[in-house]
């Protein structure tokens, strides 16, 4: 069964149509790439799926149920978590606390539990989970550092760790390799594969074509808010419309 199904999704901002009847399916267990030139509507699509925007029309089904109109917190509770385009962290908190916030869904506390320490076991479990996620992402030795003081590559890894700590079924990654050098990119690609192997389905928006082609099982190409092509990386790289709209531009540079 498809994990995520987007059905003729349309999003208008006043007179501007950012997404025009886009439909596609994300199968469980893979890495699905979402590519297209700037302004194609990739980030808008992400924001619609994660509940930060409300679609003008169309439907988004997650595990067979519509999630349109739910709040970001609800959608996160259902199992979809997004990472942000710019590195977005709680800069003022320690690396460990950042990931601890990520465990919110399984460890949120109420006032009485907090006052009388009634949920000590749950909190200990959440801390153990945070330690485990940090070790998994290779950040085990940076736990007490402030998030804002990490180098860029580690900040990206931490952003993923926060998302991962919420135990998602589906992770939406918005340009995870932007601004990285080749070495950092290859490290992040390894981490992304590791996350997929742990059972999380991934959809990512990315401009780094080498990374996208090396990482993704399937690709969806958007252009001016409409679906241009779908298929495996090999099919897409040979698709004439895609070459004309997008890859051709890259090759000409």
């Amino acid at each position: 069964m498809a994990l995520l199904e987007v059905r003729s999704l349309t999003k208008r901002f006043g007179g501007l149509t950012a997404l025009d009847g886009v439909s596609f399916i994300v199968e469980e267990g893979g890495i699905h790439g979402l590519i297209g030139p700037n302004g194609a509507g990739k980030s808008t699509l992400f924001k619609n799926i994660s509940g930060f925007y409300r679609p003008t029309s169309g439907d988004i089904m997650f595990r067979g149920r519509s999630i349109v109109g739910s709040s970001p917190a609800r959608i996160s509770a259902a199992g979809i978590v997004r990472t942000f385009q710019e590195t977005t962290l709680f800069d003022e908190l320690s690396v460990f606390d950042n990931v601890l916030v990520g465990t919110h869904k399984s460890a949120a506390s109420n006032v009485f539990s907090a006052l009388f320490g009634l949920d000590r076991d749950v909190q200990a479990e959440a801390r153990a989970e945070a330690h485990a996620v940090l070790a998994f992402m290779g950040l085990g030795d940076r736990q007490s550092q402030l998030a804002g003081e990490l180098p860029l590559g580690s900040q990206r890894a931490l952003a993923m760790a926060i998302a991962l700590a919420s135990r998602p079924r589906l992770m939406l990654m918005d340009e995870p390799f932007a601004g990285m050098n080749p070495e950092e990119t290859s490290r992040m690609m390894t981490l992304t594969r590791k996350i997929r192997e742990s059972g999380v389905t991934i959809v990512l928006v990315e401009h780094d074509m080498k990374a996208v082609m090396g990482l993704c099982d399937t690709l969806t190409v958007l252009n001016f808010g409409t679906l241009l092509a779908e298929g495996t990386p090999e099919q897409i790289s040979r698709h004439p419309d895609v070459i004309a709209a997008y890859l051709g531009g890259v090759a000409a540079e």
Binding site: F90, N110, V111
Partner: protein
């Protein structure tokens, strides 16, 4: 870790002991001052909880009045004992705050600031215009003094002990909330609300929670204040009190739990110390404010941190034997 906890505990116990003997060495009107100061500590610490989510409200002083009016009405018109009206006053303030969350937390930042001010003024105007039961500008006077066995709470020293107990318990609760998982989530909502939402935090709930709990405790503070004065009037909770709360928190610092307390204590004591200067008083107070913001932008709370840092550096640069 355990040692520093022990030191902290000892320090706190010593401070409490000092506070307990302090009023016996003070003149009558200084005892009054000490009571109001202790109440104001609860006011600023409860306000700090609200600001943890990053929203600075201008309704906190009015919520203090909500508690005060609740207790005044309950004790005066229904003959309910102070000991029951005290917790009820907090609960009513919290309930009204919970209702206000619906319009107020549709706004953020500047709009929230103005919205909270408007909501507060609306409540205050109700007290002025609905003479039945609120008593208009004159408010309600002749409030009952709490009774407990043979203790005479009309005297400042017993009343101070009552205030000290309520405020200490409240501070413990507020401290535990701040250092718990809830406190962490409130910080998360403050620094990056969208990121918090992306991992499932309902930011509206947490903003509301902080506002409701803060209002509960400031409601208690209001009740403690007016039962000592014997009167409650709308002017006790107007914008000038709110400005003082803001000044205390900003000058004291809002990054640590104790910052706001330092602010309230230091500024109130300074204000009291220059009371005799009369006309010059506002000018001196203002000059102190400007100086503190100019030279201590991160608040009085940064002074102990600076001293500790200096001390650590010194001990590190000491020559090795």
């Amino acid at each position: 870790m355990a040692a520093s906890r022990l030191v902290k505990g000892l320090l706190l116990a010593m401070m409490l002991a000092a506070l307990m003997v302090l009023p016996h060495f003070l003149k009558y009107h200084h005892q009054d001052f000490l009571i109001f100061l202790t109440i104001n500590v609860l006011v600023v610490v409860s306000y700090r909880l609200v600001t943890l989510t990053g929203e600075w409200s201008l309704i906190h002083a009015v919520m203090m009045g909500v508690g005060a009016y609740t207790s005044a009405l309950l004790t005066k018109h229904l003959g309910i004992s102070f000991w029951i009206s005290l917790p009820l006053s907090g609960i009513v303030a919290a309930a009204i705050a919970a209702v206000l969350c619906f319009p107020l937390f549709r706004m953020t930042q500047f709009y929230f600031l103005i919205g909270s001010f408007a909501a507060g003024e609306a409540i205050r105007l109700c007290w002025i215009h609905f003479i039945q039961p609120f008593g208009g500008t004159g408010g309600i006077s002749g409030l009952a003094v709490p009774e407990l066995g043979s203790i005479d709470f009309f005297e400042p020293i017993p009343y101070f002990y009552l205030v000290l107990v309520v405020v200490t318990l409240s501070l413990i609760v507020l401290y535990r909330i701040e250092t718990s998982r809830i406190g962490l989530t409130l910080h998360a909502v403050h620094w990056k609300a969208p990121l918090a939402e992306s991992v499932g935090v309902n930011t509206w709930n947490y903003r509301s929670l902080a506002f409701v709990i803060g209002s509960f405790f400031v409601g208690l503070a209001g009740t403690l204040k007016v039962h000592y004065l014997g009167t409650v009037t709308p002017n006790q909770f107007d914008i000038s009190l709110m400005v003082f709360i803001l000044i205390w928190v900003i000058v004291g610092g809002y990054r640590t739990f104790y910052g706001a307390i330092i602010g309230a204590v230091v500024l109130s004591v300074l204000d009291e110390a220059i009371r005799d200067l009369d006309v010059l008083r506002p000018a001196i107070y203002g000059a102190l404010l400007i100086a503190s913001i100019r030279f201590l932008p991160s608040g009085l709370e940064s002074i102990p941190q600076r001293i500790i840092a200096r001390f650590r550096c010194d001990s590190r640069t000491e020559p090795m034997p």
